[in-house]
Amino acid sequence: MVDQMDIPPSQLLRLLQTEIPSNDEKILRSHTIWLCLNCEMCIGRCPMEVDIPPMMDFLRSESIRRKMVNPKAGNIIAFHRSFLESIRYTGRLFELGLVLSYKSKTFHLFQDAGLAPEMIAKGKLGFIPERIKKVADMKRIFSRTLKKGGQS
């Protein structure tokens, strides 16, 4: 993924070490933090065991909180939000709903349109969202975690 990143992770760490606010801002506005897939390869190989993945998690939520999200990350965040919205109301992921919600957020109406018919033919795509019995639990979890400075 490094080829795609505007700041490589090693430089991102260096920027953090400087403790200069303008560098912090540079990080929070970067595309990098949204491209990190948390594949955990970095910590697997790092001789200093710098635990980058949770750091990236933190930087992403901080970037949203301080309204510094990189414009190129719009799709990625839209997807994450559609995902969480889906489980917020039903407790489980409704894949068709997720895709539709994501498309309406990003206007990528035709992307992946080819996949759906085949998925339906293979019996992979359900049309009715599954709801858990205690959806109230989801409401409780979402409202209690998100109110503390989080985001969705």
């Binding site: 490094v2 080829d3 490589p8 992770p9 090693s10 430089q11 390869m41 190989r45 790092c46 001789p47 200093m48 065991e49």
Partner: protein, 669 residues
Amino acid sequence: MARIGVFVCHCGENISATVDCDRVAENASGLPGVVHSVDYKYMCSDPGQTLIKEAIKEHKLTGVVVAACSPRMHEPTFRKACAEAGLNPFLCEMANVREHCSWVHEKTESTTQKAKDVVRLLVEKVKRNEALQPIKVPVTKKAVVIGGGVAGIQASLDIANGGHQVLLVEREPSIGGHMSQLSETFPTLDCSQCILTPRMVEVAQHPNITLWSYSEVIGLDGFIGNFTVKIRKKAKSIDEHLCTGCGLCTQKCPVRKIPSEFEQGLGTRPAIYTPFPQAVPNKPVIDKLNCTYYLKGRCKLCERVCPTQAIRFDQPDEIVEVQAGAIVLATGYDIKRTDFFPEYGYGKYKDVIDGLQFERLASASGPTGGMIRRPSDGQIPKNIVFVACAGSRDPAKGIEYCSKICCMYTAKHAMLYKHKVHDGTPYVFYMDIRAAGKDYDEFTRRAIEVDRTKYIRGRVSRIYEKEGKLVVVGADTLLGGQKVEIEADMVVLATASVANPGSEELAQIVHVSYDRYKFFAEAHPKLKPVETNTAGIFLAGACQAPKDIPESVSAASGAAAKVLGLFANDELTREPLVAVVNRMAPPLFSTCIGCFLCQPVCPYNAIEREEFKTRDGKLLKAVARINPGLCQGCGTCVALCRSKSIDLYGYSNKQIYTEVSALLDEALV
């Protein structure tokens, strides 16, 4: 009646900045028994010492307390000053008001109070000090050097040239160590064997050196000047006096496929072998684990071909005890092997090798005759990648420290490669180039500028095999972490230097301390770099920490100088701070009840059994006796003695009780 003098030192501002020294001196003058008390800026200076000497004479002092630094620093200074003024040196005590007081506390009233208290304790103690006489012990003027690499060789030669006997003990069949495996040496590129083998021969020929190869130290008793070293001489299965080293047996031996230790597994050797042609001693040993006769009970081909009938299949290991006055540890180091590195293939790629293997490939005496050929198919690699810091400076998966020699030998490897494969390209992945040493940085620059080695600053995250090539994936951090992929024909890992296997065991046998990496620990990192915490045992070379050849040789000569200094004495003076079992006139002889529980706890085997008998030989009583030559004054027996019959000179129970109660009395007031 005690007449005590107290001398309070300011130590410049080290003490006086936080402790009110004149008030400490003034307070001391009021203590019972103190007849003289002063403070001074530098008590350890000449005028300061004169102050003490004059006071001893003028006030007829019977005891002296110097309130200054730790006794580890200046106790000898002040005791000597007292002795010069005619006072028994063991009537001088130091009150540590620097390390125990001024350095560790803020400037407050209680800091000065603590200094006063410390002085008071020592005044009470010194009143109960006894005049003691130093203990004299003889010195055995023979050194045992353990390990026959370049450090052990140098130390042996220096001690032997100083006129003393040396026993050099080497675990392998030949001396020479890792240096004998190297092709060329940095920063001069001179041939390693060419400079080492003359020294090896000198060892063999030196009248003062006895060489026991294929031998291991398995026990050590005694103390400085008087060690008893127990050595196992492993059976070589040959009669060394008869063997002429003709080599016929090694040529005829039918077992030929044993990976050679000397060739780092890149070549093979027979079951009866000398590790390399210039081996010293140049006589073979039989590897019992691989010899057909030892495994299956038949063969004996070597016995049939030996022209001097020197083969001895039934030779047993021999265990020998040797007396020695000093020990030099020179057991060297080892390196991590390629199977240590998960991301570099766990050793499964034949063409990923370590630095010592590359040395053998580059060596004219090596398995390829000095041609750089890769192990898998013997091809000459056109792209070669050297990875520095493989396992070093890697707290997560390797070792934390810098292995120190790799930057230099990697530059050397790249140069040697380029000198042999003109159209090839050497790459070096590095974190930093650490080339601090005489002509070292110039050397690495040469590798880059003259020999056109491509240095890439970054780590290698992964190596995998593809289409007969090794794909090396790394980063170029000088290009902002840009990904680099090199399709290499061969990869050399500069693997971390680590302590030798067995170093921990040896340290425990000879009672020296070692660090968390199992390297032997020096007594002081700066001022006692070749001494250990055990008097009479010295360190040489890379058994202490990774070292290159010049450093190993310097350390070896340093250790030899210490040994020669020790051997310049016919007898040694030891502080008489030893334990004693009390004695008295018959009918009691001693309060010792003869339980001898003290015997097993003594770490120095210093406790003996003494029997009192009637004239006709009837046993009256057996009591413990402590050999003052062996006792190190640790006090374990004192604490254990149930009848309170043992006391420690200089730290008697009475002295300690007095110190404690002096403190408590004041606290209660």
